[in-house]
């Protein structure tokens, strides 16, 4: 599954990987806002942002093609609304929508490909996001692949019992079968959670995950965020002038 790729990327070693998550979150947010507010009528903004993202990808030693392909998941949604806007007679806006959503996806991917999710969440906690919500996110991410694997097993099992023979035309039977399968999945997730909780309590879990190493905001992180934000703001300012 493709999530493994992200886990591998985010554990690489580079200048970006070594930075404090809070610094990276800050720079990424500034980047997202500047992309969202740039008027993209001329091709220059796209060229500039593309260049900055490519340079960042190279510094982080990430595979550029694979990243470009992964970010393309936003394109179907963007395309639908871009086509609608185009039909409404605003071609420039349509092109802008596609570019902005694609660049934003690349920025988020760059952040996640240089920061393991656990570190990112810890960074968010020190910024003030409720710890309870973040713990739920942690658990969700941990169980996600277990539960969806189980769902795939169940689908395989149902298929080998001949479930594919039931046509959706017999909607009533199909619905009952789908509902039953989902209910079984629900029950299994529920029971699994209870078992895991008991096991965790027995191992001394007190409602939150312990941190093995506390991230430290070093001087280099400060310099990185100041320089990054300065670069992005000046770029944004220049692009405003060119438009």
């Amino acid at each position: 599954m493709h999530h493994v790729v992200l886990e591998r990327w985010s554990r690489g070693a580079s200048f970006f990987h070594a930075r404090d998550p809070r610094a990276k979150i800050l720079v990424a947010l500034v980047f997202l806002v500047s992309v969202a507010t740039t008027p993209m009528i001329s091709p220059w903004p796209a060229v500039c942002y593309g260049f900055v993202l490519m340079a960042a990808g190279l510094i982080a030693r990430l595979p550029l093609t694979a990243m470009a392909v992964r970010s393309a998941v936003v394109l179907p949604f963007s395309a639908i609304f871009a086509i609608m806007t185009f039909l409404a007679g605003n071609g420039a806006k349509a092109a802008e929508l596609v570019q902005k959503s694609y660049f934003s996806a690349l920025i988020v991917l760059l952040l996640l490909a240089t920061t393991p999710l656990t570190d990112l969440l810890r960074g968010l906690e020190s910024v003030g996001v409720p710890a309870f919500l973040l713990t739920v996110i942690q658990f969700l991410y941990r169980y996600l692949f277990v539960v969806s694997e189980q769902a795939q097993h169940m689908r395989l099992a149902a298929g080998s019992r001949g479930s594919f023979l039931a046509s959706p035309r017999r909607a009533r039977h199909w619905l009952r079968a789908a509902g039953g399968a989902l209910a079984v999945l629900f029950a299994r997730s529920y029971l699994r959670a209870e078992g895991i909780h008991r096991a965790m309590l027995a191992r001394g879990f007190r409602g939150r995950f312990p941190a093995f190493h506390q991230p430290r905001f070093r001087v280099s992180d400060g310099i990185f965020s100041v320089l990054g934000i300065a670069l992005l703001i000046s770029l944004r300012w220049i692009l405003q002038g060119s438009a």
Binding site: F77, Y102, V136, S148, L175, G179, F186, S189
Partner: protein, 302 residues
């Protein structure tokens, strides 16, 4: 419908984020006290379940597929506060790890699917889920939650300047309706099987209200969401309406007057007033629905 980054204007992102962040914080605190000590693993695992269930696609019409959203299903089993937290966690993981939905747009997506979706879905079940026609309440709730979040998302896109030809507006609305019916049907099927497994897994709805009131409540929620959409597609009508109510002209400015100084121009901004009026209207309608439901309840008991 996960809105990616780059579609919403910064103003919409900020307003939605400013509403969602405190609401989710409140829901998290409430869920934490509601659940016995630390049952966080349960919330995580149920989130993973909804995530996996969302991957099961079913065909809707030609070429497009829909999938279970699950907000209503969670609300019926774990209660609204926990569901809001779970749905927010799902949206966050989708935005960060799967690039499904934007990070700046997360506030808007959370508002549409986690807050409005869950609350709208829970309403019919809360008031009507006790009676013999429980299935209807479940169906209605699930369908309502999908319709509400879809309409809100569409509205936010249109406010932000994404242009949809007025004739083409029927296409997304039609898709939402089909999805809503499917969500309702599947949720009913799942709840029915779950009840056979273990009836304790269903949240007990407290009261019992007549069907007329329930239909009324459902209709008003749809009206509120739909009205918001209409208001944004035909802004002139709304403006005239507001002028007639002297919302912005008379009362609004007088009310702002004491704040004149730092943020007066911020509050006097017509756009912000309009959006604030719309959101306040939604909230008032929701509270009104709850109050009407409770009153109807009292009369039945008394």
């Amino acid at each position: 419908m996960h809105i990616p980054d780059g579609f919403l204007s910064m103003r919409v992102c900020l307003v939605m984020g400013a509403i969602s962040a405190p609401s989710v914080t409140y829901a998290a605190r409430k869920a934490q006290t509601e659940l016995q000590e630390s049952r966080v693993p349960l919330l995580g695992a149920m989130g993973a379940f909804v995530f996996a269930a969302q991957m099961v696609n079913f065909p809707v019409g030609v070429g497009t597929t829909g999938h279970l959203v699950g907000g209503a299903l969670l609300a019926f089993t774990l209660g609204p506060a926990a569901s809001i937290v779970i749905m927010t966690a799902i949206l966050a993981v989708q935005a960060l790890v799967f690039q499904d939905g934007g990070v700046l747009a997360l506030g808007a997506n959370v508002f549409n699917m986690a807050l409005a979706g869950v609350l709208a879905g829970y309403l019919p079940y809360y008031f009507f889920g006790h009676s013999s026609r429980k299935k209807v309440a479940i169906f209605l709730g699930a369908a309502l939650s999908v319709l509400t979040s879809g309409t809100l998302a569409l509205t936010e896109l249109i406010i932000s300047g994404v242009q949809v030809p007025q004739k083409a507006l029927y296409v997304p609305l039609g898709l939402f309706s089909v999805n809503a019916i499917l969500e309702g049907a599947i949720t009913v099927a799942v709840i029915r099987s779950l009840e056979a497994f273990n009836p304790c897994w269903l949240k007990k709805p407290t009261p019992r209200v007549g069907s007329v009131v329930t239909v009324l409540i459902a209709a008003s929620v749809i009206l509120a969401a739909g009205g918001f959409l209409v208001a944004s597609t035909y802004p002139d009508t709304l403006e005239r309406f507001i002028e007639r109510l002297s919302f912005t002209q008379g009362k609004g400015n007088q009310w702002v007057a004491p704040l004149a100084g730092y943020n007066a121009h911020f509050l006097r901004d017509a756009w912000l007033q309009k959006v604030a009026a719309g959101l306040v209207g939604l909230a008032i309608l929701y509270v009104l629905c709850v109050v009407i439901g409770k009153l109807a309840l009292k009369r039945r008991r008394g």
